[in-house]
Symmetry: D2
Subunit: 260 residues, 4 copies
């Protein structure tokens, strides 16, 4: 019943300077608030809506920056991988490997990720029921790696819309793994802008409050100092300057949610 | 930003003794906790899944009992109506008229309810988007009655399942009416037991916590001393003996949700 | 395995002249094609999205026009009713009473309709699974009226959208009642235009072809000589001048669908 | 407006003997009926619900058998690939590369498949709107390969259920690529059997009829001589002995659907 940890950072790793700027801000904020921070960024956006979406700075550069961030700030880092080959390459540089939602049923990828021994954050597919995650979890544990985080990020609801079913949080918690709520992808509107996904930033707090009140081990929130000009997921990222107020409210709810 | 009010009671009015027993328990509980109580029961279950479902004790008996309850306990009472004719008959005996979700688009019923001058609690249809409630609300206000509560009770999600989209709470609040979250019908599984609707009582607290953390003016919770033997909605009602612990947790969340 | 019958007409009864014009056109067309015609119009649109939507010409006028239409053209007529009282008033003048989808669970209305002895066309609620219609059907049969048509008109799919699940046709046919496919309401976009429902007229043929190929006893198609200026349901009605070509194609599919 | 082609075969390549048996039967059947046949089998089921699901006979063996099948029967063959590396290995031995639905947004995989120059059959993700496939299609064409088939296989509808929206067929056809309807995966119930996916074989004909009547360039139907004992997708495969009757009916509908 510890307070929630925070997985946060900009959607994409944009540059060393940008990463250090955001990381430093989050590090200080989480230090002030007493929240455990996992720094998150993607080195590659492998499943952009359209071909013209920006992909990221690439594996090699990113791994070096992750190492440097860890050295500077001492926090664990998380990134998402998309192929079996990436698992071995990325694992030494990061603490948590993330399986994207679209890929949560790709057995070989899951096994390869499990075998690195790293903690895995696996996002629930938009096409899955919460109880289906038991089979996903079992692919990791049967591969010898029980360190799995189960992450809710919304379920398909008609076209170009996700809905967050808060029942999924206790259902997945009953599987024995820590449950993370991804508050920024849950407000995505997949494909909602034609050539890219839309988002409803204004509902991040709504869904995060709800999830924390139900009880989660972790919160996943992508953040950016200027979301409207971010290379990906701008419509759903939280402005960096709004994070303190948001987290303070969520911490207060978390304390009540987890009190006897 | 006052604390939430509670609309509670057994789904059906079963008998005078039963009504007084549940009402007395709720009155004492809400007095202890400092919660405003609206006592709710239906005199007729007009839309049972099958013809063999129990319908209720009828209008005349119920109105007398409502009057007696009000005299004894001093709380306002709420009941649902299903026809224009019932509006005029029922309004003198109750404080809030409720429009069932299936009927929230029946213009004549809405107008008749509005014209009684009573406060209206209108449930959002399982087939409506939150923003569609603006048209529903307008049917009341244009009929001269702005005293409307907008009530979320889940939206159709595939077959025999509802999902609670917490975004609906701020969307409806922005319409200027108090928003109520119906925590027991939101866990219904419509038609889920073949000849009757099922329910997931175990998720009432999950959804109620989420809604309160987002912020609501009212909570709607049906309760019964022995839900498994209740004549309707047993699978989703909360045992009367569990209400105190549930409300205490929700009150604590409410205080945080509404603090500056 | 007879060919499908057609339930068709303008959504609203607009005037005597308009009714006779559309009815005459449909009568001639169906005579040419050898299709059984049931003429449909509503005398009241009781569940418009907003209060400003046009309601119809009213009960009394409509009943007289229905009688005159029957005398002139000899076809059966269908209209929808919304209250128990209307059942007795309307039944003498029409051949088929229709229960609107939103009202398909209102027990008293169903019983009142059943007791008129008229054939009932009951639309499947947008919030129901196909198998749930067994309970709806049973409310009629248990009331002594087995003459029930079960009508598919789409199921809620996210917000402001319906989807037509063609599996519902054989599922409902297995209940022993003739199944009707409503091709024009199935392309509605409920509330999709803010203050009124939108529609996708361009997909009426798509869904009608699909339903006929699966096999239906009846097709329900609203039609108008100028849908864009019709008082209701314009976005989903089929232009009267397009009906011949549409029906010819559907008849050809029907013949194949029902051949040994 | 040619008649539909058929993509068919057992879900998994089980053995050389089994492949030749099924292929021979389908070859003869399609020859009799004058249908173009593409033989389909998977060499690897990379996204089984659970780890204990059978995976297939592997790449090397399968490629040899595909070559032998092509030599013996002269038909084109199709198989699905799951990684970029597989694209180059598999392409020489097959005529059509298939992108699984879960992977339809993985940009690198799409590009790698496109660059083989093979025709691509890409399945619409269960989480995508039909119009979102335009971005998927563009990833192929922008990579220099316009030979794309767009395949409908159902969209998420609540939990553990898919629904087939027949509007997707004309929407995708308007993108200029041939549209294929996958009649056997469309009746899947993802995760519906706990550790594996369920299926509703009894509705394959329903959905195939509907799709053909709307108009498709191709039909995708998995078939097996003993589906109940097949290593994967048994619940939704069509018994081989039922294929003739099914295809005869579909051909007759196709002829009508495509006539002037």
């Amino acid at each position: 019943n510890a307070r929630f940890s925070l997985i946060a950072g900009p959607c994409q790793m944009e540059s060393r300077d940008h990463a250090f700027m955001v990381a430093g801000t989050l590090k200080e904020l989480c230090g002030d608030l007493g929240i455990g921070l996992v720094y998150k960024s993607s080195f590659d956006k492998a499943n952009r809506t359209s071909l013209s979406g920006k992909r990221g700075i690439g594996l090699e550069k990113a791994l070096q920056i992750f190492s440097d961030l860890k050295k500077e700030f001492g926090f664990p880092v998380l990134t998402d991988i998309h192929t079996e080959e990436q698992c071995g390459l990325v694992a030494p540089a990061v603490d948590i490997l993330q399986i994207p939602a679209f890929l949560c049923r790709q057995t070989d990828l899951l096994i390869a990720a499990a075998r690195t021994g790293r903690t895995i954050n696996v996002k629930k597919g938009q096409f899955l029921a919460p109880w289906d995650m038991k089979n996903v979890q079992a692919k990791f544990t049967a591969s010898g790696n029980p360190n799995v985080l189960l992450c809710e990020r919304g379920v398909s609801f008609g076209y170009n819309t996700l809905v967050s079913d808060m029942r999924s949080l206790p259902i997945m918690a009953a599987m024995g793994s820590p449950v993370v709520f991804d508050a920024t992808h849950s407000v995505q509107q997949p494909g909602g802008q034609g050539g890219s996904s839309g988002g409803q930033r204004e509902f991040v707090e709504t869904l995060a409050r709800a999830a924390v009140a139900v009880g989660v081990a972790g919160l996943f929130i992508e953040t950016h100092e200027d979301p409207d000009n971010a290379p990906s997921d701008g419509p759903n990222m939280v402005p960096l300057k709004d994070m303190r107020r948001l987290l303070e409210k969520l911490l207060a709810l978390d304390a009540v949610a987890k009190s006897a």
